[in-house]
């Protein structure tokens, strides 16, 4: 048998379908959970539990900024968690890979595109949530969110991508890894010797707050370049490792 004329998948034209998958599956979950967290954060302020009662849409700027700072970590983490949960492992577990990758499709290219499109989806969902925020809490649009969400998506999502490529219990292991990293950095943050070096293998979660503290509607602060580089670099390294795992690990194993 001779090799036929080469014919590739039209992956770029498949992008809208992946975007649609995000917007009908992970997107709504992110919106519902973040709105719930937002409601629980904002309502005490509106009702005057934390001081004088205030009206919807007219929350004082400093209060709105503080609430937004408090809401950003759940948005970044949960949004990324929903987006990358099962991003690769589900196709293996549920057997969807069988038809997908009998087509002239490179699995690393397919999943890299999915990761990227889901990231764009999360960013758009975040912008939409900011729109809801502007209407219901206070008219403001913190431009920093356009940096923070993609950065934290890369940081956490890169880890999620690697774990999803490596085995089936990706969500559980992502939560476990981040929990261990948080505890380890809190306990051994100033340790020396072996513990000190072990810490550097774990995700740099202790730097996340530097990024979340980028000023909203306030005086410009110092940009935490080191934390941005550390978080982004760690996530990118995990993503690249994940791509290698996708290429090397047999699709038929879950």
């Amino acid at each position: 048998m001779t090799a036929p004329q080469r014919r590739r998948a039209r992956l770029s034209q498949y992008t809208p379908w992946i975007f649609r998958d995000y917007m009908t599956n992970q997107g709504p979950s992110t919106i519902v959970v973040v709105l719930l967290v937002g409601f629980l954060s904002v309502m005490p302020v509106i009702q005057g539990v934390t001081g004088a009662a205030t009206k919807m849409g007219q929350v004082p700027v400093e209060t709105a900024r503080r609430i937004l700072e408090a809401m950003l970590p759940p948005l970044a983490f949960l949004g990324t968690f929903f987006a990358t949960n099962g991003i690769i492992a589900n196709d293996r577990k549920l057997g969807y890979y069988r038809f997908l990758f009998a087509k002239p499709v490179s699995p690393p290219a397919y999943y890299a595109m999915t990761f990227g499109v889901y990231g764009v989806g999360l960013l758009l969902i975040s912008i939409a949530l900011m729109g809801i925020w502007a209407v219901t809490v206070r008219p403001m649009f913190p431009i920093e969110i356009l940096v923070i969400i993609p950065l934290m998506y890369l940081a956490y999502g890169g880890i999620g991508f690697l774990l999803s490529a490596a085995w089936r219990f990706d969500w559980l292991s992502l939560v476990t890894v981040l929990l261990i990293a948080n505890v380890a950095w809190a306990v051994w943050g100033n340790a020396e010797g072996l513990r000190h070096w072990i810490l550097y293998v774990l995700p740099p979660v202790h730097r996340a707050n530097d990024v979340y503290r980028l000023r909203f509607e306030g005086p410009p602060g110092v940009i935490p370049w080191s934390s941005i580089a550390w978080l982004g670099g760690y996530g990118l390294a995990c993503f690249v490792l994940g791509m290698i795992v996708v290429r090397k690990r047999s699709l038929g194993t879950s």
Binding site: R10, R98, K103, S250, L251
Partner: protein, 267 residues
Amino acid sequence: MFGLAGPNGAGKSTLISLLLGYLEPTDGSVRIAGLKPRAFVERNGIGYLSELIAIPPRWKLENALERYGILAGVPAAELATRIAQVIDLLGLGDQRGKTVKQLSKGNLQRLGLAQALLRDEQVIILDEPTHGLDPVWTQRFRDIVEALRRPGRAIFIASHNLDELQRLADRVAIIDHGQLQRVVQPRGGATSSATPYIISVVGDDAVVRNVFANAESRGNGDYELPALDLLTLNAGVAALLQRGVLVSNLRPAHSMLEQHFREAVGE
């Protein structure tokens, strides 16, 4: 057209996973047109119908075909026509708006076959293709697969259904315990070795038993004859006719493939 037969657990699906590059061989190597399976698939694609039809349940049938068509590399200008053709070919017209989870087992199987036929593939692999199909669609499937024959195309069918392989395949590999037992040409002509037969007659039971001493009655004038060579069989039939017994049907008790299968896997 190449068939693959074997009992449960023989390794049919594993072999197919190796051909698609979904599993790596622990020993030996697999090549398709000189390329490693993943390299071949990612370059050209394979028309593949898996035994387990796994498609996200919320996808609509027509959307699923559009997605698979894009991934298969069907040119945008041809995609709608191609989808309409496979929907028509597989009789899925009235199902096109349904989600995958709303489809019956048979319709899901037809969707699986439809997505495998979206592109004019050089290699087609069908794993238990008539599983879940009713008799009408089983026959229709055979016609569709027959029509896929063309020079330079390899069609690979794994099936438990030996009758299906007997009708469709030019060669059939019988495997067991992960080992190739033999390769058979199922339509290679009558065997010269002794074979059991089923004979249907109208006439005296005692005459049949007299001519074929070890014939076992199956009722309604059917008898299973012990393994006979062709000469003995024909002499017996002539004796029956001479003594006024009419023969309405005579066939091997097992197809040639079935016989090979029984010998190869020891059943």
